[in-house]
Symmetry: none
Subunit: 207 residues, 4 copies
């Protein structure tokens, strides 16, 4: 006895404080929503969390990955997985929920700034794809696969492209800011995609 359950994983030294971790994430989240990612500095986060800078660098290598964790604490779970038995309804519900979370909110700005940051922070880019894009697409893929199972759209449909059409269009307005994310916008985007998909346009051509 006294031996660790899993030899190689036996922890040595003082364990990292969960309290410190929480304080950092809370401070980072606050600064992110108050002033945005560009104005958020590691030094401010440390000061606000009552923590040494080293305690932050020990856990996160870049500002981006820290901001991502702070962001996900708020964002994850706010995106529902609707399943009404009708593709148009499901997609509309999913996109509407996203628009509500994002339009004119600190969350929306944080989302935009994180994507921005990922353009020059490879660590963040990887984490972003694995922890945000991946899970979100997994949810949306289910919606489309259910529609396929129900026979609403052809089973040869390119589901990935359909998802890109749905959210790519929405991200476009978020990031370019040329036009607002209205409800009518949501309805029309969904209508075109559903009509196109039902017509078999997302599937390989039949010769």
């Amino acid at each position: 006895m006294g031996a660790p359950a899993i030899p190689g994983v036996m922890k040595r030294g003082r364990p990292r404080s969960e309290q410190v971790e929480r304080a950092i994430l809370r401070a980072a989240g606050d600064l992110l929503t108050e002033h945005g990612l560009a104005a958020m500095t590691i030094e401010d986060v440390a000061a606000r969390a009552g923590v040494a800078k080293t305690s932050i660098y020990r856990r996160w290598s870049t500002k981006g990955t820290l901001a991502l964790d702070a962001f996900l604490a708020d964002f994850l779970g706010s995106q529902p997985l609707p399943d009404t038995g009708n593709l148009e309804n499901d997609l509309t519900a999913a996109l509407r929920a996203w628009v509500r979370t994002v339009r004119g909110t600190p969350t929306g700005r944080a989302l935009a700034e994180l994507i921005a940051q990922a353009q020059s922070d490879p660590d963040l880019a990887v984490a972003w794809r694995e922890r945000v894009v991946g899970p979100a697409r997994a949810q949306h893929r289910k919606i489309l696969e259910h529609a396929v199972a129900r026979g609403e759209i052809p089973d040869t449909s390119d589901v990935e492209v359909l998802m890109d059409l749905l959210f790519g269009t929405a991200y476009h307005r978020l990031l370019q800011g040329h036009l607002p994310l209205t409800d009518r916008f949501v309805r029309r985007v969904v209508a075109v995609i559903v009509a196109g998909a039902k017509a078999g346009a997302a599937a390989p051509p039949t010769p």
Copy 2:
């Protein structure tokens, strides 16, 4: 002669050197393509152009607007306005040209980084919309309006949404990097949009 073309705008003192302007834009463009926007500093641009920092700040207020000008020197005009008499062909040609310019190229990275920078640089955001998004959309709008004129798609179609669908989807893959910008991707995106538009899905519902 000697009198200014526009009386109130008469210039006094030494005029700004066009040579300086060109040197700055070339240096900025080089650094942008070599190292990216995030790594481009005003100080480096000045050093590389053999120019004083003040000569840069006299002309551009932020790094972003300078980078935009350097970028547009290369980018503008590389996007054709196809007009084949067929909507699907026109959209495919337009999107294909964009993909070719952007996929795996310094231009593509610069494009992504400029959109990123615009998220935290309001000056750049405005300039971006006015000088890139606006003109590009004006071109694409023509394609769609020709299709309407030909009767290919209903004249009540929401042209703005159709454009967002086309390029939003493409920008999505560029910025998120989760999937590649293949030719098949282009064809399917266009196919869905055209099918949806022809079905009247981008138009207000008829009661």
Copy 3:
């Protein structure tokens, strides 16, 4: 005209501010005498002088050389060059002046700490020898050369060794702190050196 008097020395750019220089030296000198060299930080000097850290690093490469300049502003000139026509009197006056400046004073501590710092700061070591040790020895050498000229001590006397005996002994008590720098100490050190020198002990043996 318009050409500089000395071509290569033509100054370009904004000249360094003498006011900044003075403020830095004053702040450094104050901190040096108040808290000592070990507790003096570049950051504190900058804050106290109301100056950016970069303005200090632009002028001094190490803390030691900065402290040296701050020290010399006070120290230089406080060491007289006595010339009474009698070697013992001259040496006594010189050593007494040094002891008075140094014993139990901030100047004494600064002196000790600068020598300490020079043990691990090669830049300072060089500057110390050139700007403090050299000039001081030049003065003391004169005293001894006058004694030689008067015939008080042999002209073959090793003047360097005699100077080392005089001040080395005094520095010893300053740095080791094992015994105080009393006036009796001064008189006896001088007496032994003068007696030894007159006896020709500092000269090469005559075979």
Copy 4:
């Protein structure tokens, strides 16, 4: 057995490991000679000794006192107590031995850096005087007292001043580095001191 030798000092808990102590001193000594005191950090010593930092702090309060112990392991005993029946010979032998140990050697640098460190580390200053200066002077005092006993120099001679003259002069060249510690230097320093002492110059004046 098991009972403590001295009742009130009976130890509880795990005893300190002598092996740890040795490992620390060896690591400290190595780093001291390889990189010097200024570059020696507690963290490096711990890593090199394969020991926790706390195991060092448990035994030594400051870097200086640790370095002192590491230094003395090498230095002590390398300084002989000559007794040839002739003052000049004895002093020459003593000073020559010191010069040999110190000139151009890691020991010499360590010696200089320890004196340097003592200028801002009161703990080390005290230990230095008690454990280095005191014992060394006790030895040298014997040499001089023997000379007094033999009648070579007056019994009223200020032995302390004579010792300061001998080693102060040598430390001066070690610490200031302005001139080398040659053998001729040693001979002349000794010659002046002995001549001065024999002339009664280190004694109170006889009225």
